[in-house]
């Protein structure tokens, strides 16, 4: 069965460029999460959607980071004016229920390298 998919899998951006990372959650999953994983670290929460509503964006590191999920399915994480410290793997996860008791299913991630 189809799991969470993310594209692109790898992205190289020059400092100052804008990037857009896409997440396709498991069909029908209500909740969608974005995490950032720096090298040698565990994933860190960025933001959370329930359907199309962004209920928590407390983890977004700056106003250069923006996420949307306009139709409650596919989500896009956009990073404007990328900086070297944005280099990381960006993980998307989805869950079938509104909050915590549902397992979060993770995608393969997008590895972003900012040069």
């Amino acid at each position: 069965g189809a799991g969470v998919s993310q594209s692109p899998r790898y992205k190289v951006a020059k400092r100052g460029q804008d990037v857009a990372l896409r997440c396709d959650p498991i069909s029908g999953h209500v909740s969608l999460f974005w995490y950032q994983q720096a090298l040698g670290q565990g994933p860190e929460f960025l933001t959370y959607f329930q359907n199309e509503a962004q209920l928590d964006k407390s983890g977004l590191p700056s106003d250069r980071f923006f996420a949307e999920r306009p139709e409650g399915s596919v989500s896009t994480l956009k990073i404007q004016r990328t900086q070297q410290e944005d280099s990381a793997v960006y993980l998307c996860a989805s869950s079938s229920v509104g909050f915590v008791r549902g397992e979060q299913y993770f995608g393969p991630g997008t590895r972003l390298t900012v040069t």
Binding site: F33, G40, G42, F99, V100, R101, Q104, G107
Partner: protein, 113 residues
């Protein structure tokens, strides 16, 4: 704010050795606890979880974890590891009725055949 500490970043074991990976969290309220595993080249996947009830939780592939509330710990164990257990293991915590997982830094386990 919650935080999770995993005591060992790298562990090397021989096949059939016993495994225990330490995990401590800091949060005074009720939490839900998780262990995730990432096999080489694969996605993060759930190994086991604790919400309530019996503090000894059994997961997939013979793994288990014990929640000790007084020690704020949720250590992962396996009596006899196999080469196929080579992976990175992440402990994570979520406050009750929360929405975000807080992960530890991970432990890379290498099992020598």
């Amino acid at each position: 704010a919650q935080s999770v500490s995993q005591h060992n970043h790298h562990v090397i074991l021989s096949e059939a050795a016993s495994l225990e990976l330490g995990c401590n969290y800091s949060y005074g309220g009720t939490v839900n606890l998780f262990w995730y595993v990432q096999y080489p080249g694969q996605h993060l996947q759930l190994l086991l979880k604790y919400f309530s009830g019996d503090p000894l939780v059994k997961g997939i592939k013979g793994f288990e974890a014990e929640f000790i509330k007084s020690k704020f710990s949720f250590n992962l164990r396996k009596p006899s590891v196999q080469w196929s257990d080579t992976a990175e293991y992440f402990c994570a915590v979520m406050r009750e009725y929360g929405n975000k997982l807080v992960f530890g830094a991970g432990t890379i386990l290498r099992v020598k055949s």
